[in-house]
Protein backbone atom coordinates (compact mmCIF):
# COMPACT_ATOMS: atom_id res chain seq x y z
CA UNK A 1 0.00 0.00 0.00
CA UNK A 2 1.35 3.44 -0.88
CA UNK A 3 1.80 6.38 1.41
CA UNK A 4 -1.13 8.26 -0.07
CA UNK A 5 -3.44 5.33 0.67
CA UNK A 6 -2.08 5.23 4.23
CA UNK A 7 -2.86 8.92 4.69
CA UNK A 8 -6.41 8.43 3.46
CA UNK A 9 -7.08 5.25 5.38
CA UNK A 10 -5.54 6.05 8.75
CA UNK A 11 -7.19 8.44 11.15
CA UNK A 12 -6.02 11.46 13.10
CA UNK A 13 -6.09 9.40 16.28
CA UNK A 14 -3.29 7.27 14.75
CA UNK A 15 -1.00 10.31 14.65
CA UNK A 16 1.40 11.03 17.52
CA UNK A 17 -0.70 13.85 18.98
CA UNK A 18 0.79 16.41 21.36
CA UNK A 19 -0.77 17.51 24.60
CA UNK A 20 -2.19 20.99 24.31
CA UNK A 21 -1.66 23.94 26.62
CA UNK A 22 -5.10 25.15 27.59
CA UNK A 23 -5.89 28.76 28.45
CA UNK A 24 -9.01 30.89 28.41
CA UNK A 25 -9.63 34.07 26.48
CA UNK A 26 -8.85 36.25 29.49
CA UNK A 27 -5.42 34.76 30.08
CA UNK A 28 -2.75 37.45 29.96
CA UNK A 29 -0.25 37.04 27.12
CA UNK A 30 2.75 36.88 29.44
CA UNK A 31 1.26 33.93 31.30
CA UNK A 32 0.52 32.11 28.05
CA UNK A 33 4.06 32.73 26.80
CA UNK A 34 5.53 31.38 30.03
CA UNK A 35 3.44 28.22 29.66
CA UNK A 36 4.47 27.76 26.04
CA UNK A 37 8.12 28.26 26.90
CA UNK A 38 8.11 25.87 29.83
CA UNK A 39 6.27 23.21 27.83
CA UNK A 40 8.40 23.69 24.71
CA UNK A 41 5.31 24.17 22.57
CA UNK A 42 4.59 26.82 19.98
CA UNK A 43 0.96 27.45 20.80
CA UNK A 44 -1.73 27.59 23.46
CA UNK A 45 -5.33 26.66 22.77
CA UNK A 46 -8.01 29.07 23.92
CA UNK A 47 -10.96 27.12 25.25
CA UNK A 48 -14.30 27.94 26.76
CA UNK A 49 -16.32 25.78 29.13
CA UNK A 50 -16.17 22.01 28.62
CA UNK A 51 -12.78 22.25 26.89
CA UNK A 52 -14.27 23.51 23.68
CA UNK A 53 -11.55 25.25 21.65
CA UNK A 54 -12.35 28.70 20.30
CA UNK A 55 -8.99 29.92 19.09
CA UNK A 56 -5.26 29.58 19.22
CA UNK A 57 -2.42 31.78 20.47
CA UNK A 58 0.87 31.00 18.76
CA UNK A 59 4.45 32.12 18.36
CA UNK A 60 3.25 34.22 15.44
CA UNK A 61 0.86 35.96 17.81
CA UNK A 62 3.86 36.77 20.00
CA UNK A 63 5.79 38.16 17.03
CA UNK A 64 2.79 40.35 16.19
CA UNK A 65 2.53 41.64 19.75
CA UNK A 66 6.22 42.52 19.91
CA UNK A 67 6.15 44.19 16.51
CA UNK A 68 3.12 46.29 17.46
CA UNK A 69 4.60 47.15 20.83
CA UNK A 70 1.67 45.61 22.68
CA UNK A 71 2.10 45.02 26.38
CA UNK A 72 2.36 41.38 27.39
CA UNK A 73 1.01 42.26 30.83
CA UNK A 74 -2.16 44.08 29.93
CA UNK A 75 -3.38 42.27 26.84
CA UNK A 76 -5.37 39.05 26.95
CA UNK A 77 -4.56 36.37 24.41
CA UNK A 78 -7.96 36.81 22.79
CA UNK A 79 -6.81 40.11 21.27
CA UNK A 80 -3.99 38.40 19.42
CA UNK A 81 -5.49 35.11 18.29
CA UNK A 82 -3.74 33.46 15.37
CA UNK A 83 -6.09 33.56 12.38
CA UNK A 84 -4.88 30.12 11.23
CA UNK A 85 -7.12 28.19 13.58
CA UNK A 86 -8.88 24.98 12.71
CA UNK A 87 -10.21 21.88 14.41
CA UNK A 88 -10.07 18.33 13.14
CA UNK A 89 -11.91 15.25 14.43
CA UNK A 90 -10.23 12.19 15.88
CA UNK A 91 -11.74 10.02 13.17
CA UNK A 92 -10.92 12.29 10.26
CA UNK A 93 -8.30 10.97 7.88
CA UNK A 94 -4.68 12.01 8.29
CA UNK A 95 -4.97 13.34 4.75
CA UNK A 96 -7.12 16.15 6.17
CA UNK A 97 -4.23 17.36 8.31
CA UNK A 98 -1.72 16.79 5.50
CA UNK A 99 -3.70 18.93 3.05
CA UNK A 100 -4.16 21.72 5.59
CA UNK A 101 -0.42 21.83 6.22
CA UNK A 102 0.67 21.59 2.60
CA UNK A 103 -1.96 23.74 0.94
CA UNK A 104 -2.70 26.31 3.62
CA UNK A 105 0.49 26.31 5.65
CA UNK A 106 -1.27 25.36 8.87
CA UNK A 107 1.13 24.55 11.68
CA UNK A 108 -1.22 23.43 14.42
CA UNK A 109 -4.67 21.91 14.33
CA UNK A 110 -6.83 21.31 17.39
CA UNK A 111 -8.00 17.71 17.62
CA UNK A 112 -11.46 17.31 19.11
CA UNK A 113 -13.57 14.31 20.03
CA UNK A 114 -17.14 13.69 18.88
CA UNK A 115 -18.41 16.13 21.51
CA UNK A 116 -16.14 18.91 20.31
CA UNK A 117 -13.83 18.72 23.31
CA UNK A 118 -10.12 19.26 22.86
CA UNK A 119 -8.02 16.10 23.07
CA UNK A 120 -4.68 17.25 21.64
CA UNK A 121 -2.79 18.91 18.84
CA UNK A 122 -1.86 17.68 15.40
CA UNK A 123 0.14 19.46 12.75
CA UNK A 124 3.51 19.68 11.09
CA UNK A 125 5.38 17.94 13.88
CA UNK A 126 2.89 15.08 14.07
CA UNK A 127 3.09 14.53 10.33
CA UNK A 128 6.89 14.63 10.35
CA UNK A 129 6.88 11.96 13.08
CA UNK A 130 4.39 9.95 11.06
CA UNK A 131 6.56 10.11 7.94
CA UNK A 132 9.56 9.11 10.05
CA UNK A 133 7.68 6.09 11.41
CA UNK A 134 6.51 5.03 7.96
CA UNK A 135 9.96 5.34 6.41
CA UNK A 136 12.26 4.53 9.29
CA UNK A 137 14.54 2.48 7.00
CA UNK A 138 15.34 5.62 5.03
CA UNK A 139 15.07 8.29 7.75
CA UNK A 140 16.45 6.75 10.92
CA UNK A 141 19.81 5.87 9.34
CA UNK A 142 20.76 9.42 8.41
CA UNK A 143 23.87 11.02 9.93
CA UNK A 144 22.97 14.62 10.46
CA UNK A 145 25.54 17.38 10.17
CA UNK A 146 28.24 15.40 8.43
CA UNK A 147 29.12 15.65 4.80
CA UNK A 148 28.12 12.72 2.62
CA UNK A 149 30.96 10.24 3.03
CA UNK A 150 31.69 9.75 -0.63
CA UNK A 151 32.42 13.44 -1.06
CA UNK A 152 34.44 13.64 2.13
CA UNK A 153 36.65 10.68 1.29
CA UNK A 154 40.27 11.35 0.48
CA UNK A 155 40.83 11.68 -3.22
CA UNK A 156 37.14 11.97 -3.97
Amino acid sequence: MGFLEDLEKEQVKDLPLRDAIVINEHTIARAAIALMRSNDLGCSVIVQREWEPTGIFTEQSVIRMLHEGASLDSNPVSKFRDPSYRCVGLTDSIRTVWDAVVEEGMRFMCVVDHEGQLVGLAGQRSLADYVCDCYARQVAVQRLGSKPWMLEREGA
Partner: protein, 159 residues
Protein backbone atom coordinates in the same frame (compact mmCIF):
# COMPACT_ATOMS: atom_id res chain seq x y z
CA UNK B 1 64.25 -18.40 -12.37
CA UNK B 2 61.27 -16.20 -12.18
CA UNK B 3 58.07 -17.77 -11.05
CA UNK B 4 54.88 -16.78 -12.52
CA UNK B 5 51.61 -17.29 -10.84
CA UNK B 6 48.43 -17.38 -12.63
CA UNK B 7 46.25 -14.42 -11.93
CA UNK B 8 42.58 -15.04 -12.22
CA UNK B 9 40.73 -11.89 -12.86
CA UNK B 10 38.05 -11.53 -10.25
CA UNK B 11 34.52 -11.95 -11.21
CA UNK B 12 32.30 -8.95 -11.62
CA UNK B 13 33.08 -6.79 -8.54
CA UNK B 14 29.44 -5.82 -8.35
CA UNK B 15 28.23 -9.38 -8.38
CA UNK B 16 27.43 -9.18 -4.66
CA UNK B 17 25.80 -5.82 -4.92
CA UNK B 18 22.23 -5.82 -3.82
CA UNK B 19 20.42 -2.70 -4.88
CA UNK B 20 18.21 -1.23 -2.21
CA UNK B 21 14.58 -2.13 -2.35
CA UNK B 22 11.84 0.26 -1.43
CA UNK B 23 8.36 -0.38 -0.17
CA UNK B 24 6.88 2.29 -2.43
CA UNK B 25 7.65 5.32 -4.54
CA UNK B 26 7.80 7.64 -1.52
CA UNK B 27 10.49 5.50 0.11
CA UNK B 28 12.42 5.55 -3.14
CA UNK B 29 12.07 9.32 -3.34
CA UNK B 30 13.42 9.77 0.19
CA UNK B 31 16.27 7.34 -0.35
CA UNK B 32 17.37 8.15 -3.89
CA UNK B 33 16.73 11.87 -4.32
CA UNK B 34 18.83 14.58 -2.74
CA UNK B 35 17.92 17.34 -0.34
CA UNK B 36 18.79 19.65 -3.21
CA UNK B 37 15.69 18.39 -5.00
CA UNK B 38 13.50 19.74 -2.21
CA UNK B 39 12.48 23.32 -2.84
CA UNK B 40 14.60 25.22 -0.34
CA UNK B 41 14.05 28.76 -1.58
CA UNK B 42 13.09 31.47 -1.01
CA UNK B 43 14.73 32.11 2.33
CA UNK B 44 15.54 35.25 4.28
CA UNK B 45 18.80 36.11 5.97
CA UNK B 46 20.05 38.89 8.21
CA UNK B 47 23.50 39.98 9.28
CA UNK B 48 24.53 38.97 12.79
CA UNK B 49 24.77 42.64 13.71
CA UNK B 50 21.09 43.19 12.94
CA UNK B 51 19.13 44.13 16.06
CA UNK B 52 16.45 41.97 17.61
CA UNK B 53 13.89 44.65 16.80
CA UNK B 54 14.86 44.61 13.11
CA UNK B 55 14.77 40.83 13.01
CA UNK B 56 11.30 40.74 14.55
CA UNK B 57 10.09 43.33 12.07
CA UNK B 58 11.43 41.13 9.29
CA UNK B 59 9.72 38.05 10.72
CA UNK B 60 6.43 39.89 11.04
CA UNK B 61 6.39 41.66 7.69
CA UNK B 62 7.55 38.67 5.67
CA UNK B 63 5.38 36.16 7.51
CA UNK B 64 8.22 33.64 7.69
CA UNK B 65 9.13 31.74 10.84
CA UNK B 66 12.90 31.88 10.68
CA UNK B 67 15.81 33.97 9.49
CA UNK B 68 19.24 32.68 8.63
CA UNK B 69 21.94 34.71 10.37
CA UNK B 70 25.05 35.29 8.30
CA UNK B 71 28.47 36.86 8.59
CA UNK B 72 30.18 37.69 5.30
CA UNK B 73 27.79 35.34 3.56
CA UNK B 74 28.52 32.40 5.84
CA UNK B 75 25.87 30.83 8.03
CA UNK B 76 26.49 31.45 11.73
CA UNK B 77 23.06 30.75 13.16
CA UNK B 78 19.32 30.80 12.77
CA UNK B 79 16.81 33.07 14.48
CA UNK B 80 13.38 31.53 14.74
CA UNK B 81 10.02 32.13 16.34
CA UNK B 82 11.09 29.69 19.03
CA UNK B 83 14.14 31.80 19.86
CA UNK B 84 11.81 34.77 20.24
CA UNK B 85 9.57 32.81 22.57
CA UNK B 86 12.39 31.40 24.69
CA UNK B 87 14.91 34.22 24.85
CA UNK B 88 13.33 37.47 23.79
CA UNK B 89 9.61 37.85 24.35
CA UNK B 90 9.48 38.28 28.11
CA UNK B 91 12.24 40.91 28.17
CA UNK B 92 11.78 42.47 24.78
CA UNK B 93 12.04 46.09 25.86
CA UNK B 94 15.47 45.44 27.39
CA UNK B 95 16.94 43.43 24.54
CA UNK B 96 15.39 44.80 21.36
CA UNK B 97 18.41 46.97 20.55
CA UNK B 98 20.91 44.16 21.04
CA UNK B 99 22.31 42.19 18.10
CA UNK B 100 20.35 39.15 17.02
CA UNK B 101 23.54 37.09 17.30
CA UNK B 102 23.11 37.06 21.07
CA UNK B 103 19.73 35.36 20.84
CA UNK B 104 19.96 33.16 17.77
CA UNK B 105 20.54 29.42 17.75
CA UNK B 106 24.24 29.04 17.05
CA UNK B 107 25.59 26.03 15.17
CA UNK B 108 22.15 24.95 13.97
CA UNK B 109 21.49 21.49 12.62
CA UNK B 110 22.08 21.65 8.88
CA UNK B 111 21.68 19.31 5.95
CA UNK B 112 23.80 19.19 2.83
CA UNK B 113 22.13 19.41 -0.52
CA UNK B 114 23.84 16.20 -1.61
CA UNK B 115 22.41 14.15 1.24
CA UNK B 116 19.38 11.94 0.67
CA UNK B 117 16.06 13.74 1.05
CA UNK B 118 15.43 11.47 4.04
CA UNK B 119 18.05 13.53 5.91
CA UNK B 120 15.71 16.51 5.81
CA UNK B 121 12.96 14.39 7.37
CA UNK B 122 15.41 13.19 10.02
CA UNK B 123 16.46 16.74 10.88
CA UNK B 124 12.83 17.72 11.37
CA UNK B 125 11.37 14.61 12.97
CA UNK B 126 14.31 13.19 14.94
CA UNK B 127 16.43 16.26 15.70
CA UNK B 128 13.25 18.26 16.19
CA UNK B 129 14.07 21.36 14.18
CA UNK B 130 11.31 22.91 12.13
CA UNK B 131 13.62 24.95 9.94
CA UNK B 132 16.83 23.41 8.69
CA UNK B 133 19.40 25.32 6.63
CA UNK B 134 20.62 23.62 3.47
CA UNK B 135 24.28 24.03 2.56
CA UNK B 136 26.24 23.01 -0.49
CA UNK B 137 29.49 21.08 -0.22
CA UNK B 138 31.44 24.34 0.12
CA UNK B 139 29.29 25.23 3.14
CA UNK B 140 27.54 27.98 1.25
CA UNK B 141 23.86 28.56 1.92
CA UNK B 142 21.47 27.07 -0.60
CA UNK B 143 18.26 27.63 1.31
CA UNK B 144 16.14 26.24 4.07
CA UNK B 145 13.79 23.29 4.34
CA UNK B 146 10.67 23.18 6.44
CA UNK B 147 8.07 20.47 7.07
CA UNK B 148 5.76 22.02 4.50
CA UNK B 149 8.43 22.01 1.82
CA UNK B 150 9.37 18.42 2.58
CA UNK B 151 5.73 17.33 2.45
CA UNK B 152 5.28 19.10 -0.88
CA UNK B 153 8.33 17.22 -2.13
CA UNK B 154 6.89 13.92 -0.93
CA UNK B 155 3.71 14.63 -2.87
CA UNK B 156 5.73 14.49 -6.09
CA UNK B 157 6.07 10.75 -5.52
CA UNK B 158 2.31 10.30 -5.74
CA UNK B 159 2.11 11.06 -9.45
Amino acid sequence: MTEYRRFDAPADPLSNFEPPTYRDTTAELLGEHHVGNVACQPYLSVESTCTVEEAIRELYQSGVSSLLVVEEGNLVGIFTERDVLERVAERYSRVKHLPVAEFMTSDPTIVYSEEPAAAAVAAIAIAGHRHVPVLDMDDQIEGIVSPRRVFQFIETSWD
